[in-house]
Subunit: 228 residues, 2 copies
């Protein structure tokens, strides 16, 4: 489905059903959602929020993915989680709406289409609908679980294992388009570390590499490591 189709779809209330938990909203509230939220389209690489730029809408992603990452002064970064179509950005929104400027930012990885719920409407829905509250708290819960997982990974897991997992996770058709530097930012490490690990994976025949591209040659080999 193309973005233009989504824009049309958003005029009806059908898109609500893409969001786990919102499908059971009472008709009146569906109406509130659809009439008082608007659809936005943003090009790839847009900064959705970031230091000094907090959103005042709750975004429900209809299409595309948003990457949320943490930046350090040193220039290093680490990806915290991704928001995909059918998910909401509650955490960061509510987080922003109240507190200090922190060093996390959300970036559109692809062109995105989203329903933007103004803060007032959000508040109204939270007040009037148990379903919506469940939706919101469930979304929070999911993100926080993700964060816990990230912390566990960074603090306790070996780089080679994390890298193997990441390659498997992000290589659609056995091919992953990413530079070593991008993978390093993804995992919160240095580029050289990735280069060395990938060289080892290649030596073992698990992958083949060329500039900006990693091709999986032996998925079982990778998986064997990843599941250690």
């Amino acid at each position: 489905m193309k973005a233009t189709d989504m824009t049309a779809l958003a005029k009806t209330d059908d898109w609500i059903d893409r969001f786990d938990g919102l499908s059971r909203l009472e008709p009146a509230l569906r109406n509130v959602l659809t009439t008082r939220s608007h659809v936005v389209r943003l090009p790839a690489d847009s900064v959705i929020f970031g230091p000094g730029k907090s959103p005042d809408n709750l975004l429900l992603l209809l299409q595309g993915t948003v990457r949320v990452q943490q930046l350090a002064e040193s220039g290093r970064e680490v990806v915290l989680y991704r928001v995909t179509a059918g998910e909401s950005c509650v955490l960061t929104t509510a987080c922003m709406l109240a507190y200090e400027d922190h060093a996390a930012e959300g970036i559109a990885e692809t062109e995105i289409v989203a329903a933007a719920i103004p803060r007032g409407v959000f508040d109204e829905l939270v007040a009037s609908s148990k379903e919506f509250r469940n939706f919101v708290f469930r979304a929070y819960s999911r993100r926080i679980t993700d964060l816990f997982h990230v912390i566990e990974d960074i603090a306790f897991r070996r780089m080679d294992i994390r890298l193997a997992q990441k390659i498997i996770e992000r290589a659609d058709t056995g091919v992953l388009k990413a530079t070593h530097a991008q993978l390093a930012a993804e995992l919160g490490t240095a580029r050289e570390v990735i280069s060395r690990q990938l060289a080892e994976f290649q030596r073992r025949g698990w992958i083949a590499q060329s500039r900006g591209v990693i091709e999986i040659r032996d998925c079982d080999g990778l998986r064997g490591l990843a599941e250690t």
Copy 2:
């Protein structure tokens, strides 16, 4: 103020004012809170929640502190944040209420006194009060900010700096009672690393050590490192 006093206090609605944002609750809602929540006292080292043990009350801490930490299979751990008197445990509660069992647990560091708000009352208050909603979302925000900070620390900061900060932060009167193993768990590292760093701090005359006790001798020295 002793715990017994707090128990008495909790019978009036005064304790509400200890919680940032709840002080502006309308009288009717204050009443809901005080009549339908009960005060609990738990001894030090109680497990408030953990794998396989999710709370069904929202706790508002009146006295004591709760440590929330992440456990790894390897046995290593890391402290995520602490909940202190006048704060709530929203994050973990709401987190638990919805999703999978994860590897975080909350432990009473001291004897604690808390107001326990049943899930139903929580839901009712979120629905009926803008103040309460703000309170909840602000609490979330704070915790998430803490988590972001933890991630930044673990991923990008040097151990010696983190250790120096932790010592300053947790040494009340210039003295910190903690074993090397406890500090290691606090920072998510290994005991040996802490031992070596502390030996170095001692060599520089910043601290003095004895079994289970660290005494600050030159706070400026420590601070100089911590603020690097």
